[in-house]
């Protein structure tokens, strides 16, 4: 097991953001975290990344972590090679795993949307991470670019934890989906299993059902 999150809870003051969250990511597995805004996705990612500590529970990561933020998280004034080289240097290696079809001498600010995302992922892949966390990796991309990114991720072979609200994207790409709503894991499983369990035609319907159920049960409070 590459990533093991067990009963993680987190509160900001009196507001509980996460409660009893558990998830597991195996090697080569692509896991999607779905949830409405304010559902605790970002907090969970921070805890997994080590940026924040959980109030309770545990996170264990057996391997190195790579992170791909939602926006273009590279330096537009650097070339592709310079960007990748910089992050590679931070990780203690000469260069990353290559340029992934990008022109190494092209300045990052001149790349297309898909190329930018690819560069961003390439930067995250420097140092050979065992787990890649991606935050909304296809937001803002045109369909062609989106397709390009998704195929790129699928072909990586690296375990990914994708935070997204794009259901079709998750359904297409993820081996396993975790529905996070109101700070708790409402449900989880493969897209197909979730559809079956909630008798829905697609993940979006599953998501709506789960969220509505969470809203009707009311917000969770400490104690």
């Amino acid at each position: 097991m590459l990533l093991k999150v067990e009963n993680v809870a987190k509160s900001y003051g009196r507001k509980r953001v996460l409660s009893g969250v558990s998830l597991f990511v195996s090697e080569g597995e692509i896991v999607g975290i779905l949830g409405p805004s304010g559902g605790g996705k970002s907090t969970l990612v921070k805890i997994i990344s080590g940026l924040e500590e959980a109030d309770s529970g545990s996170v264990s990561l057996h391997g190195r972590l790579g992170y791909v933020p939602q926006q273009d998280s590279f330096y537009p004034f650097l070339t592709v090679a310079e960007n990748i080289g910089y992050f590679a240097a931070l990780r203690g290696e000469a260069l990353g795993k290559g340029f992934f079809g990008l022109d190494p001498d092209q300045q990052a600010s001149e790349l297309s949307g898909g190329q930018r995302k690819r560069l961003s992922i390439a930067c995250a892949l420097t140092g050979g991470p065992d787990l890649l966390i991606l935050d909304e990796p296809t937001v803002g991309l045109d369909p062609v670019s989106k397709r390009d990114v998704l195929s790129f991720l699928a072909g990586l072979g690296t375990a990914c934890l994708i935070v997204t609200h794009l259901m079709n994207e998750a359904e297409e790409l993820c081996d396993k989906v975790i529905l996070l709503s109101g700070g708790v894991v409402s449900d989880s499983g493969s897209p197909a299993a979730l559809r079956r369990r909630h008798k829905a035609k697609d993940l979006e319907e599953v998501f709506v059902k789960v969220v509505n159920r969470s809203v009707s049960s009311g917000p969770r409070k400490d104690g």
């Binding site: 998280s73 330096y75 080289g85 910089y86 992050f87 240097a89 203690g92």
Partner: protein, 635 residues
């Protein structure tokens, strides 16, 4: 991760940030255009060395001082001087100042120069100026004050110079007086010696001897008088005898005269006989010669006649001889008679003389009596003189000792006067000469540009540091970098390093431009470079801290401007600390820009080692805050 890997990571981070500064148009504009324009524009402004054409009206009721002010202000191009006089001049000048047509007016009241010269002070010179222009007003007041000082000094110097010459003469007179006193003292000593001698002589005079001698003289005179009387009596007897002898002589002469008469008669008879004889003899002789011629010579008859003639001749000779003797005797008697007469006259004269001598002796005797009285008076006077001499000597001694004690004082006074008048009167009026030496040979900008460097560094590094950090945060690169290498210190220091490189370069660029265009020179390139480094560290750290604290770029700009503008005015660069309120001054002096300006100025202008301690402390605190805050500001 190894140290080498850490160093490589650090180098990559620095390189990345430096590439940003090279490739970002905004960064280049900020780093090049701002400092260049600041140096070029402000250099031109601050290098203006002095004001010019300041309009001043000299409104004077005193021709001398008015001319002095006009002349002094008219030198150079600082002032444009107008002159005026009359009762309305002053108010008209004030009205023109109020209307902005004049910068200042100097009003010189009547008699000001004379009052200063005679009384040492005069009526105040009035200066009216436009205080709405603070710098110009300060310049005018300072300049006119300086001129007033010079004019006053000139007048005072004239007066003091005269007094000085008087002192000099006084010193010479004191020297002469001292010399004369010394001479008087010498003479007093001499007189005193002589008085002592006189006193001794007076004491040695023995009056009693005089009295004894006078007694002797009196006795002598009496004896002489008696002798004279006796001599007179003797002379009287001699006279009588002489008279009788004269009578006898007269008788003798009469007898002689009778005898002479007789002889004369006898001679006449003889002469007749002689004539008769001579005739006889002549007859005999002729007869004899005839006889002798005819027959033998009858000797006997001729010789008898000759013999007779010879006898007669002898008798006549004897009678003549007799008469000669009688004549001689008569002559002798006559002489004797004359001598007797003379003796008688002498006796008579002797008697008269003796009478006179006798009278004189009496007078002498009387004189002696008088002399005895005088001698008594003399004795009394002598005693008084001795007493007076003693008193005078004592007085002379006192005077001499006073003169002696006065001489050093005179010498001291002379020395004091000499010390005074040896000085230059001008040095008394203005004993302290200000030697204005401009530190900034190239003009005011030499002083300002280090401060401008600090200001530009502050603004640019705050903006670049804050925006760079915000861009990293917002772009996710900070988070990504942190996740890749979770060492906040490394990240902060690497960004700081790049900013410091840029800041130091920027400072040196400004220095170079200032040198090329305005000739400013660095007193110490080493200390200035280190100062630029320290200031860059400080403001880069501050910029990074701002970038971690504020939300976005606009907030960063707001904070940068909010920090920079008050700092610029409070850092002592544009407004001196001395002009700031007391409550604000300590805060102002502790501002990072104040410390930075001082460091840059100290190194650039004075070549001094700046105080890096406070700068380092600020930078350390800010860096520490950034390092602590960075993990909490990941987005």
């Amino acid at each position: 991760m190894s140290t080498a890997a850490s160093a490589a990571a650090l180098a990559r981070t620095v390189r990345k940030d430096l590439l940003f500064f090279l490739r970002s148009r905004n960064a280049i504009i900020l780093l090049l255009v701002v400092p260049l324009s600041v140096v070029l524009i402000l250099g031109n402004v601050f290098n203006q060395k002095a004001a010019s054409g300041v309009k001043v009206l000299v409104c004077s009721e005193d021709a001398e001082l008015g001319a002095a002010y006009s002349q002094a202000l008219g030198r150079g191009k600082l002032f444009s001087v107008e002159t005026g006089s009359g009762p309305l001049c002053r108010d008209e000048g004030k009205a023109r100042i109020l209307s902005g047509k004049l910068s200042a007016e100097i009003f010189v009241p009547a008699g000001a120069a004379r009052a200063i010269r005679e009384n040492g002070s005069g009526q105040g010179i009035e200066v009216y100026y436009d205080n709405s222009q603070e710098d110009t007003a300060s310049f005018i007041v300072t300049y006119i004050s300086g001129i007033t000082g010079v004019i006053s000094a000139n007048i005072s110097e004239e007066f003091i110079g005269s007094a000085w010459r008087g002192l000099e003469r006084m010193g010479e007179q004191i020297e002469v007086a001292g010399s004369q006193l010394s001479q008087v003292r010498g003479r007093l000593a001499l007189v005193s010696g002589r008085m002592e001698s006189a006193r001794l002589q007076l004491e040695n005079v023995s009056v009693s001897g005089f009295y004894s001698k006078m007694g002797d003289m009196e006795s002598f005179l009496n004896e002489e008088r008696a002798t004279l009387l006796l001599a007179n009596s003797s002379l009287t007897g001699v006279g009588e005898r002489l008279s009788r002898a004269n009578e006898t002589l007269n008788d003798s002469r009469a007898l002689l005269a009778d005898a002479d008469g007789l002889l004369a008669e006898d001679i006449k008879t003889t002469d007749l006989l002689l004539d008769a004889t001579r005739l006889t003899e002549a007859s005999f002789n002729s007869s004899y010669s005839i006889l002798c011629s005819v027959s033998a010579c009858p000797n006997a008859s001729a010789s008898v006649v000759t013999d007779l003639r010879m006898r007669l001749q002898g008798r006549r000779d004897k009678e003549l001889e007799m008469r000669a003797k009688i004549a001689t005797i008569d002559s002798n008697l006559t002489e004797m008679q004359a001598e007797l007469a003379n003796a008688t006259a002498q006796v008579s004269e002797g008697r008269d003389y003796l009478a006179r001598v006798s009278g004189q002796l009496g007078a002498a005797s009387n004189l002696l009596s008088d002399m005895r009285g005088s001698l008594a008076d003399f004795e009394a006077m002598r005693n008084n003189s001795i007493s007076d001499l003693d008193y005078s000597r004592q007085a002379f001694g006192n005077i001499s000792s006073e003169i002696e004690s006065s001489l050093p004082k005179i010498e001291e006074a002379r020395g004091a006067l000499a010390r005074i008048y040896s000085r230059d009167p001008a040095g008394i009026v203005t004993p302290v000469y200000l030697k204005p030496s401009a530190i900034f040979s190239a003009g005011g900008f030499s002083y300002v540009y280090p401060v401008l460097c600090a200001m530009v560094l502050m603004f640019n590094l705050l903006l670049l540091g804050a925006n760079g950090m915000i861009a990293e945060r917002k772009g996710g690169t900070l988070l990504r970098s942190y996740l890749a290498r979770p060492f906040a210190a490394l990240f902060v220091l690497s960004k700081l390093f790049a900013l410091v490189v840029v800041g130091t370069f920027e400072a040196l660029l400004m220095v170079g431009v200032a040198y090329l265009f305005y000739g400013t020179r660095l007193s110490s390139a080493m200390w200035f470079s280190l100062s630029a480094l320290a200031v860059s560290v400080l403001f880069a750290a501050m910029g990074l801290a701002i970038g971690l604290l504020v939300k976005d770029e606009s907030s960063a700009l707001l904070v940068t401007v909010g920090v920079s503008i008050p700092s610029i005015f409070l850092s002592g660069g544009l407004l001196s600390f001395e002009f700031l309120p007391a409550a604000i001054k300590p805060v102002s002096q502790a501002l990072p820009l104040s410390l930075s300006s001082q460091a840059m100025r100290a190194s650039a202008v004075y070549g001094a080692q700046p105080d890096f301690l406070a700068l380092s402390a600020y930078a350390a605190v800010l860096l520490l805050a950034s390092i602590i805050f960075l993990p909490k500001r990941l987005e």
